[in-house]
Amino acid sequence: MGDHHHGPAKGLSRWLFTTNHKDIGTMYLWFSFAMFILGGFFAMIIRAELFQPGMQLVEPAFFNQMTTLHGLIMVFGAIMPSFVGLANWMIPMMIGAPDMALPRMNNWSFWILPPTFLLLASTLFMDGGAPAAGWTFYAPLSTTYAAPSVTFFIFSIHVLGLSSIMGSINIIATVMNMRAPGMTYMKMPLFVWTWLITAFLLVAVMPVLAGAVTMMLMDVHFGTSFFSAAGGGDPVLFQHVFWFFGHPEVYIIILPAFGVVSQIIPAFSRKPLFGYDSMVYATASIAFLSFIVWAHHMYTVGMPVAGELFFMYATMLIAVPTGVKVFNWITTMWRGALSFETPMLFCIGFLVLFTIGGFTGLMLSIAPADFQYHDSYFVVAHFHYVMVAGAVFSMTAAIYYWLPKWCGRMYNETMGKTHFWISFIGFNLTFFPQHFVGLAGMPRRIPDYALQFADFNMMSSIGAFIYGASQILFLYNVIATIVAGKPVSDEKVWDGAEGLEWTVPTPAPYHTFEKPPKIDPAHAHS
């Protein structure tokens, strides 16, 4: 037995060659945090330029590169890899598996990411600058009219798509094959469920994105006209293909966040999740609906009215399963014994702000009203409420919640709560006024604006600087915890926490569940 019980290798090779799910999870998390800082830095440049009317710091062309890279890096570099990292750490520990099903591929799917983002960031220094057509890179602005760096951008999209597909195949294989005996599907923690469904979404849509960028590549270099009407193609085709990927993509981002919140709220309410089954079905319904609503991003492209109506009705329907989720979380809290440690604060922040983002989403689904909202700052406000307050807040909650289990040390609670309140205030100061300027007619993606939008934009910029600064506190708190946090040794770090991950020692040893755990049949899902 002795030989099988080895710890990590020493030095750099531990990280380069590791096949350990915890090591890979850790690398994903640190990498995504680095990208979060980089994407955040670009956002700071955007907000600094928009602090006042008039061009102050950067030129319009560079501004467009900043909005584009901010979006791409936050979506593909920060949010998605962070949840993959969390999946790596937690899924084996939650289902009682010793590791991921495909550990070597796991190593590979992480290690192709850093060079890819290095390549993407390096486009900033290329002739003509980085891609500047927005994170949605609509053709022909992103093809015929793009800087030469678009080729490098296409390559990086291909590679990170590859990484995502490998990561999700791994998750599907792990969940389907590696569950401990007795861990039936309907006993899996919700985080595992949401990730399983997310992984299917990823496998389904990443190839579509790869197809879209391949067609771009052909248009740019091989004289095809997929997206050019002059050659018999159609610029709107690009949008259909992109959003067929893009809409499921937003659920790829938010479903694991739902999973996290569904773990943490019961823990700090000291009460089981109200409707486990309905949460699973709601997640699956949202995933299904995400495939048939893509053109609600394109109400103004001139679709026939029948198409508009179909996409409007289908989109409105998403409110039903999303409502089921919100009602479930609140009923879980109802008559619990609530306490408000940092993870719970971030989850409550998520609950309030994500619900607001859901409301504006419902408003945006109404096609005739969308003729006024579309491509305005109202949309920017909406998707930051669901992306930042949704995905990022829940990710932050997850870090605070599981960090003590990972490193056997407790973070500083006061600093955590401070981080929450500064984030919460900064976030709302940034994005709430953007609803106003959007409704008043300010288009998105403009480097300069009319004078009537000045005050709210200044407010937004101040909020953004506050929110940005609060992340430094977060980084400090995490590092301080790992280095010198107060040691914890209870297996169950939180008294209300349920699930297999809380049955292994704290800090979690390098290898867990080498022998499958016994699942108490009476003790369904956490």
Partner: protein, 381 residues
């Protein structure tokens, strides 16, 4: 220093002032407007009503949901000694919170559908305007009219000096154009929207029109303004570097005023047709050329031809070189650079004048005068 001090003061007082001004609700392009404007059209009012109804429903649901949550947060605290109950799952409750939202959605879908159908009713338009998006300006063509075809470009009028803060910003900063589009009041105007290069989107909030301008395709939209006035909007789809600098201004005027305006524009168009056949003196060309230069070239090439975003024209090998090469750059642009093809944007008189001006101003004393017929011949090949 004064500027810095003002900025700091504004920064400190900003949020307070903002709250105060936000309370004074305003409509229609006002400072610190916080809500959608019903605008000047019936469709706009219907959209506004729909927006308010759905916002209202969301607010009520929000108050309910957050109310329950905060009640729980306040009264069901562990620190208050509240003991957790362990209830979970209730088929009745779960069916209710699935069915009730569904019914609310049906209630929303009914007015949404009828509004959408109204927006899509393009029948009985009384006039058509073809709108073409260019990087980064709009072109308007009044078609289906008897008589002379009227068409013109509408460019941002805000000077670079205001954008780069060397001059105070005017009231309509970034929302002003050299030539607004003019439409009559109480008339169903159909817009045919397309683009010449990349996708743009023609958006005037108060006319309740937003339609993507897509190269190679023609989209339809329409408006019927109930009130005269000046309505301002912007390009809504990212279209490259100067996406933020291609505003839209629509003057809605009385039908009589519109007819007068159209007659004047048609006369101008007829005049330009005549001018095309004329030969101009050097002085005439230089005077016309300077006007065109200031409007179309100055932003990139500088007031004295010293260059900027674009190359210098003073002493440039193109402007002081062989005429054919110069015409080629002016008319066909330089692909892959910010230098656009102006052949379709300037008429032959303007093109002749501005080329002459570039070859003879800023110390480029080439001494050659280009006539409209030269442009015509060059374009014909």
């Amino acid at each position: 220093m004064c500027f810095e001090a003002k900025r700091l003061l504004k920064l400190a007082l900003g949020p307070v002032l903002m709250l105060m001004s936000a309370i004074a609700l305003a409509s229609g392009g006002e400072v610190n407007q916080v809500n959608m404007s019903p605008g000047a059209t019936h469709v706009g009012e219907r959209i506004y009503d729909l927006h308010m109804v759905i916002l209202g429903i969301c607010t009520v649901i929000g108050i309910g949901v957050f109310g329950v949550m905060f009640y729980s947060i306040i009264y069901h605290r562990k620190s208050k000694g509240h003991k957790p109950s362990h209830f979970h799952e209730s088929t009745k409750v779960e069916i209710a919170w699935t069915v009730v939202p569904f019914l609310i959605l049906i209630g929303m879908a009914v007015p949404a559908t009828s509004t959408l159908l109204e927006i899509y009713d393009f029948e009985d338009a009384e006039m058509d305007i073809l709108i073409t998006g260019y990087q980064w300006k709009w072109k308007y063509e009044y078609i289906d009219e008897n008589g002379e075809n009227v068409s013109f470009f509408s460019n941002l009028r805000t000077p670079q000096s205001e954008i780069y803060n060397s001059q105070p910003k005017g009231e309509h900063y970034l929302l002003e154009v050299d030539e607004p589009v003019v439409i009559p009041v109480d008339t169903k105007v159909r817009f045919l929207v397309t683009a010449n290069d990349v996708i743009h989107s023609w958006w005037v909030p108060e006319l309740a029109v937003k339609k993507d301008a897509i190269p190679g395709f023609i989209n339809e939209a329409w408006t019927r303004a109930a009130e005269e006035g000046v309505y301002r909007g912007q390009c809504a789809e990212l279209c490259g570097k100067d996406h933020g600098f291609m505003p839209i201004v629509v003057n809605v005027v009385s039908k009589d005023e519109y007819n007068d305006w159209l007659a004047t524009k048609q006369a101008e168009a007829a005049e330009i047709k005549e001018l095309m056949a004329q030969t101009f003196t050097m002085d005439e060309l230089m005077a016309r050329g300077k006007a065109v230069y200031d409007r179309a070239c100055l932003a990139c090439h500088g007031a004295n031809g010293e260059g900027g975003v674009g190359k210098a024209i003073a002493g440039s090998p193109i402007a002081t070189g062989e005429l054919g090469g110069h015409l080629n750059v002016g008319i066909n642009g330089v692909p892959g650079t910010a230098m656009q093809a102006f052949g379709g944007q300037l008429n032959d008189v303007e093109m002749a004048a501005v080329i002459t001006y570039q070859r003879n101003a800023f110390g480029n004393n080439m001494g050659d005068a280009v006539q409209p017929i030269d442009i015509y011949n060059f374009k014909k090949g």
